[in-house]
Structure formats: C-alpha cells, structure tokens
Amino acid sequence: DVKVTQSSRYLVKRTGEKVFLECVQDMDHENMFWYRQDPGLGLRLIYFSYDVKMKEKGDIPEGYSVSREKKERFSLILESASTNQTSMYLCASLLAAGYEQYFGPGTRLTVT
C-alpha cells in the first residue's frame, strides 16, 4: 500500500513565524501536491511537483513556497505565517502513469 506521511498532525504557530510542513511518500511517485482545505471551499491546490527540483504554481500559491530536493519528500514553506493561513493542509502523491492520488493524514495548522 502507498503510504504518505506528514510531519505533524497539529501545529500552532505565531504570526510572522516561518513554518515548514513536510510530506514523505514511500512508493516512488513522480508527482506530489500540496492542498489546503477550508470548509465549503473543498481542496485548493497550492503547488505541485512533477519531478525533483521541479515545481508548478497551483491556484493559490501566494504566501507559500515549496521544495523538492528528493523524490520522496515535498516540503511546503510559509515564509511569514499569517492568520489567514490557518487551515488544514493536505499532501498527495500520484504515480505518473497512474490515475488516483494518495493523501496523507493532513496537518491542521493554527496561526495565532
């Protein structure tokens, strides 16, 4: 079974802090994604990566950056956290020749 893990389930940070969210997948998938989930809005794509060191902006990249130095790891960075970034963050992976995404358990981030 594919396993996608995220570094924290719950995280509380202060406004202005730099925040790192990490995601690791163990099935050699080429594609990895970061979403944020807010009630009534579904999942919105922040960034995705289709290869090591490659990244593409999604629908809401402002205030975020990403890093993919190794195939199995995809990091989301909040350079200066703000209260409007309080949300559930979900990581997913996808085999290039596959169809469905596999999701991690999510990180619920609260910025105070």
Partner: protein, 113 residues
Amino acid sequence: AQSVAQPEDQVNVAEGNPLTVKCTYSVSGNPYLFWYVQYPNRGLQFLLKYITGDNLVKGSYGFEAEFNKSQTSFHLKKPSALVSDSALYFCAVRAIYGQNFVFGPGTRLSVLP
C-alpha cells in the same frame, strides 16, 4: 477550465436506506472522475474512479457511481447506508491529458440510526 459542483452541502439518510451524493463536472475533453471520503481529522481516502468503459463503477465499502456523459454527472450511490458511512465526500475530476485534479466543495453525509 475544469470545475466540479456538488449541489448539496448536506445529505441525511436513514440507516438501511439507499443513498445518493450528487456530482456534476465540467472539463475539456474526456474526464477521469473520482470519489474520495474523509473521516474527521483525517486525509482523503480513495473510494472509486471512472477511467473508461462501463459507466457503472464499483468501489470500496459497497459504494458505486454512474458516469453519465450527456448529463456530465458522476453520482455516488450505495444501496443500503450504514451509520459508519457518515463522513465528508468529495468528487474530483482530472482531464485525461493532465496531472491536475479539481475537487468539489464536498458533501457531508449523515446516516441516522
């Protein structure tokens, strides 16, 4: 541009009754379609997908979905609901020649005992 609509925020059904969660989509060309379920404070779990072929697809936990190209719909169904089916359900679409997914806003299913 791709889009997904789930017209009902909430669906309530009695245990043992059939359930339907609705989804309509818009995409250029032929779609790949998916249903995911999310239990509280968890990530999304894959339920089923339509890729090609038979319009009725069967998935995990007794769920099935019917692809209707003319109505651009992909409704999720189950013949007999369980209380444990209570969760948040997401429909998603992906264009055949792309890696990006678009998700609907989600429908909360409550199965009442």
